[in-house]
């Protein structure tokens, strides 16, 4: 917008074509600039995939490329000879296998013409670069899958995430409905208390809650990670209430006149119209629970059989810290589901955020 007005203001400039080009140039420059930032922003994913597909030796190998590769060799008379990139005087670079190494001179074989005499090349072979071929080690992922015990982790994590999501949805929908549709004495004060719980540091309530769960034997079970979600939380109530308040009241009044009770109105009038935000809350909870590290750390530290994926990956990587390819392969296994879910339900993620954002 601004660029266009600027151009029109300086119309008396000599070249009309240059003038017409300016907005496009501005668009191209800004978009390319953003694209560059995006590439840097996402490059850690590239590192993760590339390293996760590498052979252990190739990570620290001098001169190895950043992509998963193995050095090429040529088999000659039953023996493997490493292939190097050999420059000759006419400027071309040959892929030759080194046959006999010497200090100042070496013998090479041309793999395309192995029958010929070995080629003598003058120069230090140690300065030559190796020839690499793309060779992803998919086995790293199956290994990480097995060593992590993914089937069990998937079961644990999904049980915690999905039951928690059901609890969050049931309770938050009810509470948001109460806040958005009913005249209740002291409602504003209650709502303020609800919102102010957002600023409460977790630790203030965590210490006694842990003691309580310890007392009733819930530490070392999934219950502390699931049950509290059946009692609503400020963030999701706020989000759902925002949405419910935007639904016209005339509809539920009409339903009431037709004899529908409050529960009936909620189920047949409000919920069908609020499906996008309900999906948002559900999906965001599943991703949140999948990613949560702190609560499982506290409540399931001693129960490896019940632990979700976040804890398992950390334990695994504490063990395999010296094997970067396995660390990256296991990190990738940890983020596949949230990322796939994100791209599949992308609209709902962003929508949820923007709904709350507009109000605050």
């Amino acid at each position: 917008m601004t660029a266009q007005t600027k151009t029109s203001r300086s119309m008396h400039s000599s070249s009309v074509i240059a003038q017409r080009m300016r907005p496009f140039l501005a668009i191209a420059t800004v978009t390319l600039f953003t694209l560059m930032i995006l590439m840097v922003w996402l490059s850690p994913f590239g590192y993760m995939v590339a390293t996760g597909l590498k052979d252990r030796k190739m990570i620290t190998e001098q001169g190895a490329p950043i992509w998963p590769a193995t050095p090429t060799t040529f088999t000659y008379e039953g023996k493997d000879y490493p292939i190097h990139l050999v420059p000759t005087e006419d400027g071309t670079i040959h892929r030759w296998a080194i046959f006999k190494k010497g200090r100042e001179e070496s013998l090479f074989i041309d793999p395309e013409n192995p029958e010929a005499e070995p080629i003598q090349w003058t120069g230090r072979w140690r300065t030559l670069k190796r020839d690499w071929k793309f060779s992803p080690k998919w086995g790293n992922f199956t290994r990480a899958w097995e060593e992590l015990g993914m089937p069990l982790l998937l079961r644990n994590t999904l049980v915690i995430a999905i039951t928690g999501a059901i609890g969050t949805l049931l309770s938050c929908i009810a509470v948001a409905y109460g806040f958005s549709r009913f005249r209740i004495p002291g409602k504003n004060i209650l709502f303020m208390i609800l919102v102010s719980t957002m600023i409460l540091p977790t630790f203030v309530t965590l210490v006694p809650t842990y003691v309580l769960f310890n007392q009733i034997g819930w530490v070392g079970t999934w219950l502390p990670l699931i049950v509290p979600h059946f009692f609503a939380n400020a963030y999701n109530v706020f989000l759902l209430r925002q949405f419910f308040m935007a639904i016209p009241r005339e509809l539920d009044e009409a339903a009431m006149i037709d004899g529908a009770g409050p529960l009936r109105t909620l189920i047949s009038i409000i919920l069908p119209q609020a499906i996008p935000v309900i999906v948002s809350v559900g999906v965001l909870h599943i991703v949140w629970a999948w990613n949560d590290y702190f609560m499982p750390l506290i409540y399931l530290a001693t129960k490896p059989k019940l632990q979700p994926i976040s804890i398992a990956i950390q334990n695994y990587n504490a063990l395999y810290f010296a094997q970067p390819h396995m660390v990256q392969a296991s990190s990738l296994l940890g983020l596949v589901l949230p990322v796939v879910l994100f791209f599949a339900a992308q609209r709902f993620f962003m929508q949820g955020v923007v709904f709350t954002g507009v109000e605050k």
Partner: protein, 319 residues
């Protein structure tokens, strides 16, 4: 459900006094019924634990010797003031906050400004991909970055060496650990970025048109229109950042296993609190640390809200 109602019998009495009609009372009862999960939850998981926490803080309650629990008065609070490790962790957290919070405020503003630029094409594409790392599990994100910032084999240092810059040992050098932690944290800026984008899109274009007529350039209109108009979101981010930063410890905990390395720079307050509670089972002392943290957060929030009237612009949110 019955507990929720008995808890509210006082309010019902008041209703009778004001002679509310049967219908109005019925509505209030239904409303309370719907609110009851939260009311019960608030009492069960927030209010009572807070009271219990306060009571714990005056005892030497330990989960290992629960039978020997005794009142110690202000003993834990006096211990807190004298505890050299806690003193160090307070300093560590404050020092980190002074660097991390301003960056955490500026970063989403800059990203949103870029994403909101009229000359940018493919906004939805960019927004989605800039947001994406936000949903990556923290544990995965930490290990990915630990790899990227590896002294020898990480891409950052490989790039720095190629250009001929010195390549620091990000994760083991006390000078570079905070920048490293902040970079990992900034990857999860996605939702704040979207809040800022939404706020910027809500600014009426007439304001920019008027500014242009008055001869304001790009930077002037950003400073005098965009920033004041999105100040409520900046304020919201500031409050959440302060609350988040005082409880910060998970990233260094995953990275360094709670060792405080390098050179005690990651011995954050919340890490110390976590250890007192869940490694040493000193629930009394941990509760003291938690309550002091809570009071600090409360004071900070009140102070920030008091400053809000000088710089947060709420005209757009009437009604």
């Amino acid at each position: 459900m019955s507990t929720a109602f008995s808890g509210f019998s006082l309010k019902q009495l008041r209703l009778k006094k004001t002679k509310m009609s049967k219908l109005v009372r019925r509505e209030a009862l239904w409303g309370l019924l719907f609110l009851s999960p939260w009311i019960v939850g608030f009492l069960l998981w927030t209010f009572l634990p807070m009271v219990a926490s306060l009571i714990f803080s005056f005892t030497n309650f330990s989960l290992i010797y629960p039978g020997e629990t005794q009142w110690v008065g202000f003993g834990n609070y006096i211990k807190f003031l004298k505890d050299p490790i806690v003193g160090m962790s307070v300093k560590v957290s404050l020092r980190f906050a002074l660097i991390a919070v301003p960056i955490g405020i500026i970063q989403p503003i800059l990203m949103a400004a870029l994403l909101n630029d009229g000359r940018l094409r493919g906004k939805r594409f960019f927004m989605t991909l800039f947001y994406m790392p936000y949903i990556v599990p923290l544990v995965s994100a930490v290990y990915i970055w630990a790899g990227v910032m590896n002294d020898q084999t990480g891409w950052i240092n490989m790039a720095l060496r190629t250009v001929g810059f010195p390549a620091p040992d990000w994760l083991n050098d006390p000078t570079w650990i905070y920048p490293a932690l902040i970079i990992v944290g900034l990857w999860g800026v996605g939702d704040m970025m979207l809040f800022h984008v939404a706020a910027m899109q809500g600014i009426p274009t007439e304001l920019y048109d008027a500014a242009r007529v008055d001869g304001a350039g790009r930077i002037a209109s950003f400073r005098h229109i965009t920033l004041p108009m999105i100040s409520p979101v900046i304020f919201y981010n500031l409050i959440l950042s302060v609350i988040g930063i005082v409880q910060y410890f998970i990233i260094p905990f995953v990275l360094k296993g709670g060792s405080g390395e390098p050179g005690n720079t990651t011995r954050f307050y919340a890490m110390q609190l976590y250890k007192e509670a869940f490694a040493y089972s000193e629930m009394g002392y941990a509760a003291t640390m938690a309550w002091i943290l809570f009071v600090f957060v409360l004071i900070m929030t009140v102070v920030l809200f008091a400053t809000a009237k000088y710089w947060v612009y709420y005209a757009a949110e009437e009604g």
